[in-house]
Amino acid sequence: MNPTPADRIGLTLRVLGWITLVLLPVWAWTVINSPIDSVQGIMQKILYVHPPLAYGAYLGFVATAIAGALFLFKGREVHDQLAIAGAEVGTLFCTLMLITGPIWARGAWGPGNWWVWDARLTLTLLLWFVYLAYSLLRSFTEGDERAARFASVYGILGVVLIPLNYWIIDLVGGAMHPDNLQFEENDSSLGEGMGLPFLVGNLTLFFVFAYLLVLRWRVGVLRVEADAPSNAGEGELQHG
């Protein structure tokens, strides 16, 4: 039997799965053994989790946009399923960033600072709204094929927003409220012994993201293959 797309994805999935499985305990070990920050205490360890989540949040949307563009030009459902996977996994990572962000902010800046308008958190918030808009567009558009097409268009527009927002905030953020929306020189000073867990964390979360993305993609493709119309098929496509 010829390998279906789902089979090929399945192979990639197993490879990613093993890599992730190895990295996770390594990462946990480096985080636990890293020094406890004198000022911020154990809360500081969120630093190892929060920034790497960005991989998932941003790459998720990039995957959605590229898959969407492929769908527009080739019309293959497999691509649309990747776009959906990118959006779902990306939303997950983006939401986690928005949850860990305040925890870190509270830890870093003291009580009362549950939210800070620093440039990165703001960008993440804006991205989160784009993800939300993407999902609503898919849900509210009538007609599956049209929804896929429109979502692909919005995906391309949305991905352009990411560097655009970055550039604008960089350009005019200094004069903006809230309070000096600027990018800081360094993310946070990384002291002794913090480099390794940070590096491992980046690597691990990248693979976690990749694994979840491909997993979700495979589920979507399997569903498409299962639903493929047989001879006793259904009626007309919806026209909204």
Binding site: E77, D144, G233, E234, G235, E236
Partner: protein, 260 residues
């Protein structure tokens, strides 16, 4: 008027679990008339939309070439639209504009600028000359319907596509519309446009087209034609209606068997 012939092979239109069209083959020469006949949900409108350049097939090939140049490159979708006139169940006109303005706008969308005389002639052909300056929003259904057809041919397309134009019309109006379309076709003489009409009414199919494509659940289940008409399988409304009933019974039986 550039004559085109259309050819579709193994046309598919599907997304997810819905397949509107499955392996549909057809050929339409310049000047031919074809009815797409079938029950609701058979895929007729989906096929017409592909012909009109309003959607792309998910599979198979659809090509349009100039009639007299079999070796020419197939026309691109956006170029094919220049040769298409489309009439749907909605009138596609703007209520705020007058009849004349609607025609001018429709022509300009196709990069044509008809002369005042040509427009007057067209309006007259459709008995709209004395209401030419009135806002289309004030028109009766019949007048709007006539304006809709006029709008579809103002840019002199070589292919006219009609999507269930009789929907919502009472018997008398439907008769009148059919007569008008038949008269329009006769008046075209040698320069006949190709005509594709989507309908679920076999009577209209026989009135307007010499050939029919019977669609059922996205597949072609018959290609009756006036030419191939025999006493056993006449190209007549009753015979076609019988065929459609047969197909309907077939799917009911299949549904019952599947549910069992």
């Amino acid at each position: 008027m550039k004559k085109v012939r259309l050819r579709g092979q193994a046309i598919e239109k599907r997304y997810g679990r819905v397949a509107a069209l499955r392996r549909v083959d057809f050929e339409i020469e310049a000047g031919e008339s074809l009815a797409l006949l079938g029950a609701n949900g058979a895929g007729k409108s989906s096929l017409l939309k592909i012909l009109a350049g309003l959607s792309r097939p998910s599979g198979g090939t659809f090509e349009a070439r100039p009639q007299d140049e079999p070796d020419a490159e197939p026309l691109k979708r956006d170029a094919l639209r220049a040769s298409i006139g489309y009439v749907g169940h909605a009138t596609l006109v703007y209520g705020e504009l007058s009849a004349r303005e609607n025609l001018i706008f429709a022509a300009r969308l196709h990069n044509k600028r008809p002369t005042r005389e040509a427009l007057d002639q067209l309006l007259d052909d459709f008995a709209l000359l004395d209401v030419a300056e009135r806002r289309a929003g004030t028109f009766s259904r019949g007048m709007a319907q006539r304006l809709s057809i006029a709008r579809s041919i103002v840019h002199e397309p070589s292919l006219l596509l009609l999507d269930e134009p009789f929907t919502g019309l009472d018997e008398l109006s439907a008769e009148r519309l059919s007569e008008r379309l038949q008269a329009q076709r006769k008046s075209e003489g040698d320069e006949k446009r190709s005509l594709v009409v989507v309908t679920h009414d076999p009577r209209r199919a026989v009135e307007l087209a010499d050939r029919a494509l019977i669609l059922h659940r996205g597949e072609v289940r018959g290609t009756p034609s006036r030419e191939a008409s025999t006493s056993d399988t006449p190209y007549e409304a009753d015979a076609l209606r019988a065929r459609l009933s047969e197909l309907a019974r077939e799917s009911e039986a299949a549904a019952r068997a599947g549910a069992a």
